[in-house]
Symmetry: C2
Subunit: 154 residues, 2 copies
């Protein structure tokens, strides 16, 4: 159960762009300096994000990246899927990379993984870059209420 640095850096980059690209596009170097991420690595991530249609870019002096859509229309789940691949904990319950398992008939685990996946999606697919870009003091509540009723310890 892990999120890679790609998703972490990618989301941070998008947060930064959402916050700062009003006047001019934001360069990879600027984001890199702000979040302490290696520039060259970030370039690759932003390239992937560009190919996926999340950001657009302008080359040359004064160039950089901008979101193609309002930040409120980009979900964290979408970004994680682009950069990390499948979100489901197991491919036998993945929508995007489904691979059947020989034991599905009598495998209680499938149900477990399916529920886990739904639980994850209920969070990441309902949290947008706009939610994340809000100052932490406003507690980054998602725009749509998520489906957890209460927090559980541990």
């Amino acid at each position: 159960m892990n999120v890679s640095t790609k998703s972490e850096y990618g989301l941070r980059a998008l947060i930064y762009i959402a916050r700062h690209s009003d006047v001019h596009p934001v360069s990879a170097r600027e984001i890199s300096a702000a979040w302490h991420v290696p520039v060259k690595y970030l370039e690759q991530i932003l390239k992937t994000l560009k190919e996926a249609g999340i950001v657009e870019s302008r080359v040359g002096l004064g160039g950089g990246y901008r979101l193609t859509r309002p930040a409120s229309l980009i979900t964290a789940g979408e970004v994680i899927r682009i950069l990390d691949g499948r979100i489901a904990p197991f491919s036998c319950v993945s929508e995007t990379e489904y691979v059947p398992c020989e034991f599905e008939i009598d495998c209680g685990l499938k149900t477990l993984w399916a529920r886990t996946r739904q639980a994850i999606l209920s969070v990441v697919d309902h949290t947008t870059i706009a939610d994340l870009a809000r100052p932490a003091s406003e507690s980054a509540a998602p725009s749509q209420p998520i489906l957890l009723k209460k927090q559980i310890g541990r």
Copy 2:
């Protein structure tokens, strides 16, 4: 976002033991044959599970493994933690392996990861081996109702 084969095999082994250890303990070879898992690999997993106090073992002919507790008192989350380590998607929100992050103050992501973690825990910490060991036809519903109100597509 992935669950390793260790957790998968470990949970399957426990399910098998819960179902079949009434009369005599269950051997690794037996489980291995039932679930198509390499014996030697399974031995290692069961050893870890034994050290963690989930199963007890008996050496020699007719030996094998038994649960130390009723299956209804062993949660999937506990097993995954033992075999895979941290469940939280990022260590900045982990209870068991917390590592602070330099950007926590203004990092909307922390909230996202925290919510994701809670969502995962609300499933895996409320699903027991007893739930999983029930025949799939009974749909492996957890003993306590989980906190998702409805299923979401995608």
